[in-house]
Subunit: 334 residues, 2 copies
DNA sequence: CTGTTAGCGCCTTCAA
DNA sequence: TTGAAGGCGCTAACAG
């Protein structure tokens, strides 16, 4: 038989309701009574049934994290960050893979909510921009927060990094290193961050008076293969770039691979820069110069926002770090 | 107001209990009645409350996955595999990070079980070998399955790959390529797989009549840094190895990094082999020759085992694949 | 094959 | 500041 609130109430010599009050940290419990109850809880090693609390109360002490991202590192950091905040809050986390292309997406999410009574939902890219999910969530009036959404920042609570500034910083860094022909690999078109990073790149070029060359910009898709493809094209140019800045680290890894295959020394003959979205940069070499994406912090903040919601729409913008890991970085001629 | 089983029963014109029967796929429901109920369920878009089912019944339709592993790729694959099986079963998955060094580990796990009423638990390394957890689980008689446990295979249900054979296969492959001095980087001492892989390495050497040299074996810890350290030592040997076989891919990546730093051409001057525990091998270059660890399949199988339990202890051993990705592999002199 | 009657363990509402 | 009664939505154990 499991230990119940009743056992605790008997052990503590109070009513069930009083134990409930202590469990829920309600006011109006005499300090002395509270103590007695807490001791009984500890002595019996009592953990209240979430199922019962959910059924009887208004909260389920559970939230869901929806994802459909194929970058394990990214998801892991997101989950880790959200988890950290949940832990502090005494809330369980339901990690829910989804398929944003599924026809039954909204229904699936609705079913999840009905089944689990989750108190809120956190959306990670690309679920952040799945209209059916957003509509379903809004229809039900269930609190949710989006991490790095691609669109509609203004409509809902969300957290994101400053992608424009990040790309600007990196480009400026490369320019300061002496580069004039800087290749750029654009991210997946579905992600607003892609546009923003491209914009940051152009803004930095403009400010420095470095002419923008459409030839040096290649479309990618945030994966290793597209980064490699882009690198091939860029390095085949009659006048190839002296640096390539990829919009994320998977693509940057692809660029490095091509450089290696061609016997191009990095960073001596080619500088490669990217984002550190996924910690991957720490595992590749030659070293990448990276913008650290504060993924874990974003996720943590998203959960904080969720728990604090009800006051209306909020946004949180987190700062990135420019991390120069290429120890042999040096000035380059054009 | 949420849709309840009662609404369905009214819509279908049957009793609540009958709806319940249909939901639980019980026998003894007339086909025609079942159909009526199913239509009502679909029409009302009804999803039963897990909290209520848990409270009233014997099952919670939830299982937990306990992990404390710092390899995102590994966890992701595990979670993915378990998830896939859960989905088929209509079971929710609670992903639960733990701290195997925590003093309150058993209590934490116990609390989780009390709170959530999970029907079973899946343990991934290194939680697989946390004695307090195993004891707690056994004491409660809750079904659990261990994925790639490090110890005590015989005591509990578990799934694992054939590490001895895998390491043997790889070593044999290297020998067949002409290598005679093969460095080996041992995995973390806490993992039984480390011993087994070392054993497989030795077995292959013995069978081929290649003398075992203790100098060529270095202790690692399954991380990038220890792989790099081991490589430094091995390559500093008066007579360095022509191939290095690392017990996992993080360490293999470390070996590659050192080779690169020293200007050693891979695979021309040095072959590097490893396991593909984490898909990392696909992101590094020069290419690694790898043993594919069937992580996702292991996890899926673990969940299957869990759902099929009650028949006693079972074990499942899954086959690995030897994946030769070094396209320029060639015979080497000693 | 189907329905009835009790709870599951906790929170809510109300009263004291 | 505390307690008593009622019910959340569902399933178990029976009865028909």
């Amino acid at each position: 038989m499991r230990t119940t609130i009743k056992d605790v109430s008997i052990a503590a010599g109070v009513s069930i309701k009083t134990v409930s009050r202590v469990l829920n940290k309600e006011k109006y419990v005499k300090e002395e009574t509270r103590k007695k109850v807490e001791e009984a809880v500890a002595a019996l090693n009592f953990s209240p049934s979430l199922a019962a609390r959910t059924l009887a109360g208004r909260r389920s002490f559970q939230i869901a994290l929806l994802y459909d991202n194929h970058s394990p590192y990214y998801i892991h950091q997101i989950q880790d960050g959200v988890w950290g905040r949940c832990r502090e809050q005494g809330v369980r986390l339901l990690a829910q893979p989804t398929d944003v292309d599924s026809a039954t997406l909204a229904q699936d999410v609705g079913g999840l909510i009905d089944e689990t009574h989750v108190d809120g939902v956190i959306l990670s890219s690309p679920v952040t921009d799945a209209a059916p999910v957003l509509e379903e969530l809004e229809r039900r009036g269930i609190p949710f927060v989006r991490i790095s959404p691609g669109t509609n920042h203004a409509l809902t609570s969300s957290v994101f990094m400053d992608d424009v500034q990040a790309a600007d910083d990196m480009t400026t860094h490369l320019i300061n290193e002496g580069h004039r022909r800087i290749g750029f690999v654009v991210g997946h078109p579905n992600h607003m961050a892609s546009d923003q990073r491209l914009f940051g790149y152009r803004r930095a070029l403009d400010r420095a008076g470095v002419p923008f060359e459409p030839n040096l910009v290649r479309q990618g898709a945030f994966d290793f293969a597209s980064g490699a493809d882009a690198a091939e094209t860029l390095l085949d140019l009659p006048e190839p770039p002296s640096a390539i800045f990829a919009s994320n680290d998977d693509m940057a890894a692809g660029v490095l691979a091509v450089a290696h295959r061609r016997g191009i020394a990095v960073p001596d003959d080619l500088s490669v820069a990217g984002f550190d979205d996924t910690d991957l940069a720490q595992l590749v070499w030659p070293p990448l110069t990276t913008i650290r994406q504060p993924t874990r912090e974003l996720a943590y903040t998203a959960a904080s926002l969720l728990f604090a919601m009800g006051d209306g729409v909020e946004h949180r913008r987190l700062q990135h770090d420019l991390v120069v890991r290429s120890s042999t970085a040096r000035r380059k001629g054009r």
